[in-house]
Amino acid sequence: MNTLFSQPLNVINAGLAGFADNIRHAGGEVTHLNWQPPAQGDITAGLALARLLNHPLVEAANKQAMDQYLAAQPVLVDVLPAREAIPAMAEHKLILHAGPPISWDDMCGPVRGAIIGAILFEGWASDHAAAEQMARSGGVALEPCHHYGAVGPMAGIISPSMPLWVIQNKTNDQRTFSNFNEGLGKVLRFGANNDEVLQRLHWMRNELAPAMQAAVRQLGEVELKPLMAQALHMGDEVHNRNAAATGLLIKRLLPALLQTSMPLSTLQTVVNFIVGNDHFFLNLSMAASKAMMDAAANVPFSSMVSVMARNGVNFGIRVSGTGDQWFQAPANPVEGLFFPGYGVADAAADLGDSAITETAGLGGFAMASSPAIVKFVGGTPADATANSLRMQSITIGSNPAFTLPALNFAPTAAGIDIRKVVDRNILPIINTGIAHKEPGVGQIGAGITTAPMPGFTEAIKALAERIQQYEEGQQ
């Protein structure tokens, strides 16, 4: 039924503003758009996008993907060496890194430094030169964490003997993994690989991991979603700020730790290490986010983003409906503040798997709950709120498990829809740390960045192609 003639005319005007003025002058109702060519002017992608808008296959798939994401119940169930958690790592020399696939030759400084550190840590080479030679010559396989259900912050390096957090989604029993957080300063994830770094990694493997394993096994399981939800009410957005969540975690772990038969001196070092690192929970937040997003992945025709990750050169996304395919573009610069003595010229490109938190509706998407974070770009709490609200316009829906006090306990925007990103020209916002471009210097600042548009544009084209193929097959 077309009610054009029977209802008052209400016009949406795209293009010449004068036409909107005329309609208004003639007594009509009009909304004038702040229109720009979508998909950065890519006409093919723009048409593909138009055909996907309100497409019944996509709508149904998104509902399914969103339901599965919302239903996910990520639970911390164990701590295991990577080679046990990820069987492929026991079969050959394999090191996992953050972001989309990248070859050694193309890697940025911090990732290379971290890989050299991991090779030394594993004892596969005796010195830096030999380790670098091994990595360069293909003596060790380098693959993305995401290819094995894992995530790691910054360089995101995981080698076989490193301990991993094991998260299980109780709804589908799938497991996801993340490495342990080393703290700030000179650490492997920023590319540092000196003796101090390696000694810390050894200690984490030999003392911290067994303690955590014992505590987690003592507890049986730790539900992560309620813990994260609580942290959101305590000023964290569980990406760039994990102070509250780390506190909540140690509150859970401490009684269990005390019940283990570990020597007091070990307990003291372990507890000191955790309470001295406000980011200790970050890796758990990431693995929990990964579990939620894996639940939504691989739903045919869905336009929901299932992964956002950076390798220090490119920003990659994966979309539920296009499965394991990566869509990549050079990472956008980070708007941020720098530690004393550093500036933009020192910064590495955006790096790490931690944008999985934004993919799951946390981090930048939950910025309203963490006013401290928005100050990184000289903003105000109102900016944080505006950011969280803006993200509502590019998501399929929102996640009632994560509510934001500053928005009167409204749920966080969740389920990024590539169609909305491209159509509305609003990029997903990401809270992030800034690494020094040289390996080993460490974190030099923090700020806010966005996911680059070209990956979304390519993903639109790929999804449209899949749907077209399917529809042609149906005819």
């Binding site: 036409f19 758009l33 105000t380 923090a446």
Partner: protein, 511 residues
Amino acid sequence: MNIRNRIFPNMYQDSVSLMQISAQIAGLDGIEQASVVMGTPANIIQLQDAGLGQDFKAGPNDLIIAVRGAAAACDTALELAQTRLTAKPASDEGDIRKVAPASLAMGVETMPEASLALISVPGDYAAAEAIKALQLGLNVMMFSDNVPMAQEVEIKQLANRKNRIVMGPDCGTAIINGIPLGFANVVKRGAIGVVAASGTGLQEVTCRIDQLGEGVSQALGTGGHDLHEEVGGISMLYGLQALIEDAATKVIVLVSKPPAPAVADKIMARASAAGKPVVVHFLGAPRDALAPQGITFAHTLGDAAEVAVAKLHNQPAPASIARLADADAAKLTALCAVLPASRKDIRGVFAGGTFCFEAQLICQQAGFVASSNTPVAGNKTLADLWTGHGHTVVDMGDDAYTRGRPHPMIDPTLRNARILSDMADPATAVVLFDLVLGYGAAAAPADALLQALQSAPRGPVLVALVCGTEADPQVRQRQVDALRAAGVLVAGSNAEAAVWASKIARQQANR
């Protein structure tokens, strides 16, 4: 170079706030390096590494301000840092900015009751916007042109599936529920519904209906390609059906160039079964064509309005307006008497493409083959775009003249210059032109021309058509009066203007 620091014991602030202050004081003139941090061991090492001092007697809960630079600047920086640290928060920013709608989907979220998208984005992007609008359940008017035919077909087939109308691409004019869209005139609302494939054709018919004292229920455009075989007249058929079903519409007018035969058959069949009178004007169709039951053919745009008004009053169709009244003939003969015999040419200078087309047809029927940049069948293609030669009728709204320039309806500068140059040509007997009013058109379309005419030497006869209504922002009578005061003959319709021009040319040819 000075290094200064100040320590505030037990003054914890979160590091992000401090980094902001650091950034601000580091930006002061004369400051080389600045940092405001809590006195943790790691931060103290960073300060030392950054060359901001060596000896800091501070613990993790003590705040350190450290600066390096010119002495005076250091003092200023320390003061500023202290002020910032103790400043009250800025007044409450309660206004949470809403995201301005940037896409049709966002527009629908802002205006859920939206029923139509008016799209005038560049042609390359127009098809995508039209598809989006349809997917969102909107009707569409596409002012944008240069949309490939295959995309037009895709859009219109989608519209059919969605039960929505697409007007255009290249639809300049529509009036929906009394609201003018694009280039449109303020016509009275009434009982005559119009569907037209031409923007200026639609304007002429609706304005003439208004001048005759009647009104328009809906005026729908289809765009110029709709009646091609490939598109199949989807928009015209949909518009026709909508007007058939619209209770407020008592008489329907269809206007286009002659459609592809298969398309014409479909339209005629639907129109014939409309259950209300349908007036059809196919520009340039043979005059003696036999109209099917229920349909009346009109011979000109103006006639379409005249016939529709007659049908509305249950009166027989009047004779065509494309004929010369005796009084007019006498007036024109008198004007020709003072023209030199050497002035023989018709020079038509149009802003409206359909006016140019119709004027060529009428002059041709009167025996005058003209050159044009958009020649009708039997006329010649213009050799020189910029200079009239012999009978010449140009459409200055055509791409040939508008590339990189505004349309002459918006900015008549180029069109005015052409009128003056044709007047200055000693071969010109009559200059025929249009003045299109309404929304979208120039606010004072005749002013510059009238000013130029004051000083221009009088040569040929000037004949004008003013397409508009009394309710238009430019007020038709005001424009007509001004033109008449300047010695311009103003006709009641485009067809009449062309008949007058032909009469003058005939008179001169016979001398």
